[in-house]
Symmetry: C2
Subunit: 377 residues, 2 copies
């Protein structure tokens, strides 16, 4: 990674294409629009953002961060104060609803906890909206609720409000769960996909590809037997410990970007950061941990683990001076034992993710294009 | 309503049945579980609450109200402060997605705005989670987004975070939208379904049955031509004006319950209040405004308007001393022009809603039993 990485005409073409304003022209929704990759970004930026635009939505982060400007007179004394809060939502349509390592309920709790956590927030309260298909077995619902209860307990959050809708048989597939969440940001940490800086290190909290390959295999379309399971996990304590460590080092401002690489995988998340921060992210293939079982499954399935969804992993882009200390701290967390530095941030070519391959070459790692795996979460 | 209303053996039997702890025994989900009526209450209390129980969820209000205990040291000075906030969610699965008076997008914004408003909160930020069926036309999506934009603008809220999932054709019916919302409670108002007191007046902000009958007719299952349309509307300013009026009268504590009578209709909402507050609510049939078109449609459809969903109406249970002033103030709001007092609260028989009929008799108005109209919102 020390070697200079010079822009080629190809890189420039890729970059120009990206900087082009998204103009949404598709006539109808395709599975690719839900993939987490380029088609979804085009849908969100070219359509949703055009209609619903406001400064908070415009950040296109996985959560909105806002200040509550509280007139406290009615509560305790006079005056104003501000609380910084995070708010996020995700709908879960994963198929199958039960899979090794978890189920749709656990995923729904952890996913929203993680989208709050990566803003530096302490997740507090979740909502849960259920869309149930007529005929759905109550025993399955009980299992899912038990799993949500356990996941909420582990993450230290409470489901405080909810909603239940039922649709006729055939109008939905079993059940869909939406969770939204609110959290409070109690430190001065400010993370965003546009804050990566040249010289930063890229930390990955563990192995990639476990969730996506597990779901694919669980669909039973392939006669594949592995002991792989979803990595679905709450990352809020892991993030909190990172923040504590950075605080102790008086380098809270050294935590620049935090993201959980879900749909679209690590490749897509890194592209979002490279593009948002106008930097080049260089990663080294050999440094990226992939379980043998996941690697094997990916090979058979024709998938690149870099694009496969994770549900319990963190990408952190941090100042070089604190990277090793943060990795050491993350490794102490149960969900971060295999954390490592996988690359670094360069100034140029901006908007590009490049990977040094095991064979010594370099390739551009683009955002996920097309649809890889529908209903992965 | 002045005449004494004495409990009969029937009333006592109904009451006993209600007080019985809900034990959920159904083997699978039925459409009735999404009706807003008794089956849904049993599902929520007997199952969801059993698994996810916590003090906030236990209130079973349409929103959770909590205090943010903010350590403000990092933000502006030292010390603690508290902000009282509301948080709510609803998924929308209405069929058809476009109907006279609105569409699923407008409904999704207004519904969540209203669930916040009835806690006394000023709605601030909404999330939007879309579940889209593969093949859904982008032109329809644009119409829905435009409608969400307009509804958000009218209510003074912003959609600040979102999520998009796509499922295969046949795995969902067109699109489902979940909205969650957060708001801030800036006054000392405290409303709940358990705060109604004997002597209180029951205010209804306008005609009932418009939304539900509109949807039923829009399904085209009946060859019925009427000019009826959904009443979907944001009620936050109307509620704010009520609160201002009560504040001006130094009777903020006179606003006891606020609810929007959606699924299950006015009958179900009043039952929730009668049961939650352990009071009897007596309403007078002749005082309840129903549009001629809605009444006619209900007759043909075999529906009782009292059980039909509304999407822009408010039920307020308030101290008798301020009721007339509040009605006068509500009438000044565009969405409250037909507001009136429809009944009052008695101490006994607790947990019962009784209606003096136009013929001079009295009947018990129970919660909606069974499923009236699937996918009404």
């Amino acid at each position: 990674m020390s070697q200079a990485f010079s822009p080629s005409p190809l890189f420039e073409r890729v970059e120009r294409a990206r900087r082009r304003k998204h103009k949404f022209r598709d006539p109808q929704i395709t599975l690719a629009h839900g993939s987490g990759g380029r088609a979804m970004h085009e849908l969100i930026e070219g359509l949703f953002l055009e209609y619903l635009r406001n400064p908070l939505l415009e950040t296109l982060e996985d959560q909105a961060v806002f200040e509550i400007d509280q007139r406290v007179s009615a509560v305790n004394g006079n005056g104003h104060t501000r609380a910084r809060m995070a708010f996020t939502t995700d709908s879960y349509v994963v198929d199958p609803i039960f899979f090794p390592g978890g189920d749709i309920g656990k995923l729904a709790i952890n996913g929203t906890v993680n989208d709050l956590a990566v803003s530096g927030a302490r997740p507090l309260y979740l909502s849960a909206g259920f869309i149930l298909e007529e005929g759905f077995p109550i025993d399955d619902l009980k299992k899912i609720l038990a799993s949500m209860r356990d996941a909420a307990a582990e993450a230290g959050v409470a489901v405080v409000t909810g909603d239940t809708k039922v649709v006729q048989k055939g109008s939905a597939d079993k059940l869909f769960i939406n969770t939204a969440g609110v959290g409070i940001i109690e430190t001065a940490v400010r993370t965003s996909a546009s804050s990566a800086k040249a010289g930063d290190k890229v930390i990955l909290s563990g192995t990639i590809g476990d969730h996506g390959t597990t779901i694919m295999i669980a669909r039973g379309e392939l006669e594949l037997e592995t002991d792989i399971e979803s990595d679905t996990a709450p990352l809020n304590f892991l993030v909190q410990e990172m923040i504590d460590e950075a605080s102790a080092l008086q380098s809270l401002d050294g935590i620049h970007c935090l993201r959980d690489p879900t749909r679209g995988g690590v490749a897509t998340t890194l592209n979002e950061i490279a593009f948002g921060s106008e930097v080049c992210i260089e990663i080294e293939e050999d440094l990226i941990p992939v379980r043998e079982a996941a690697r094997g499954a990916c090979e058979i399935l024709g998938l690149d683990p870099l694009y496969v969804a994770n549900e319990g992993k963190l990408i952190a882009v941090v100042g070089a001076g604190i990277a090793d200390r943060l990795v050491a701290r993350i490794k102490q967390n149960h969900y971060g034992q295999e954390a490592c530095i996988i690359g670094e941030v360069k100034a140029e070519p901006a908007g590009i993710v490049a990977m040094r391959t095991g064979f010594g070459g370099t390739r551009i790692v683009d955002m996920l294009v097309g649809e890889q795996l529908p209903r992965i979460c």
